[in-house]
Amino acid sequence: MKAFSYYNAADVKDAVAVLGDSGSDSRALAGGTDLIGEIKNRYISPDRLVNLKSIKGLDRIKYSRSQGLTLGPLATLAEVAGHEQVRVRYPALAEAAESVGSPQLRNVGTIGGNICQRPRCWYYRGEEYPCLRKGGSHCYAVSGRNKYHCIIDGGPCFIVHPSDTAPALMALGARVAITSARGEREVGLDEFFVLPSSDPTRENILGPGEIVTRISVPPPGEGQRSCYLKFKERESRDFALVGAAVVLELQGRTCRRASVVLAGVAPVPHRSTAAEKILSGQAIALAVVEKAAEAAVAGAEPMEENGYKVQLTKTILKRAVLRAAGVEV
């Protein structure tokens, strides 16, 4: 790989100042489980890596009844998955974090890195293909091999967003703080991700010199239940074929409000407002859940090789809702 310099950021202000220096190609380094792979595969060659792990306090996990959950982006997935308040109050997040990769990857990979990670599309990750996302003019998946690509909201690029924690965080109503040399802004996670129809070269709104500095999840509502399910092609370690994060606000058997976000179906974590509308205000039972599952895939546009994802999505949504509601079938 091309030689790069390694800079240990002293604090956030220092990090964003160095990252924002347009004179060199600098990248933020957290766990490095995605970035180092990208560099080794030779499709990016930064001049400088800005290490964020040297910044004190960026990995803290805090919970309070009034404020909810505050995650430092450098908290590892293992720390998030193992944190008692996360497991008890936000099971969807603990389950999502625990489903990522392998124990080794979870010990090093961070929650901030997980939501900002680049796609796994084999054309994007393939040196030989100057695809749309890399600034080229063509998506090779359209007439190529696309069994893992998206079935919803695709075009002109057809990636799926690879994160498990992002759908869980989104379903839980999370917000992210983004810091640059110009200061801090906060957006809901629903506004953080970018569809290829807006810009096929980026997955999220982070600009040069910007990093995520905080992920905030509101306190759980009354009767809140949540879960994350993930279907993998290979149990031992794999990205999701499809995943479902479901958050329900239950009053007895009735679901007052539902939040459903899917992984593996779209270029961004996909909130299924169609499924949410059907579930809200209903008693959770098989019939209404099946109706919600059908609605979730109603507008799906499968590609040549990924039609199976339609059935998988219906099944996983159904199982996730029933599991979150504690309903046995």
Partner: protein
């Protein structure tokens, strides 16, 4: 995902039983990998393999490995016979038969990943 696998191997006179058992275990694991996970995926436009790496060329891992029971059917009167291919090749067939037993659908393609199994179920007319 296989839960238990029983292998009955007859290869004449075993020369070293520990080596033989290890060979059978290894053949079964790689047979499972072949039948359930591995796929050399070619791009039709460039003729290049799109998954020449450990991420997307999937190998069986610990979660794909079942409880394996090995029975050596000893026939020393036949003399030593090879044990290179026998543990691996019928393993794939056994898994396909198991899938048929479980679902009523014959899967004619490997690896037998969710997309392939769903397709076989649909062709049988029994997809749920």
């Amino acid at each position: 995902r296989p839960v238990k696998f029983v292998a009955v191997q007859d290869f004449g006179m075993p020369m070293n039983k520990l080596t033989a058992r290890s060979q059978i275990n290894g053949g079964i694991i790689m047979g499972i990998s072949w039948a359930l996970c591995e796929d050399r995926t070619m791009d039709p436009n460039t003729g290049l393999m799109v998954n020449p790496n450990m991420e997307n060329y999937k190998l069986a891992g610990t979660m794909e490995t079942p409880e394996i029971e090995v029975v050596i059917d000893e026939m020393p009167e036949r003399g030593p016979i090879g044990l290179g291919e026998p543990p691996r090749i019928p393993t794939a067939g056994a898994l396909a038969t198991a899938v048929y037993n479980a679902t009523g659908a014959w899967v004619r393609r490997m690896p037998m990943t969710p997309d392939v199994v769903l397709e076989a179920l649909a062709n049988k007319g029994g997809a749920r």
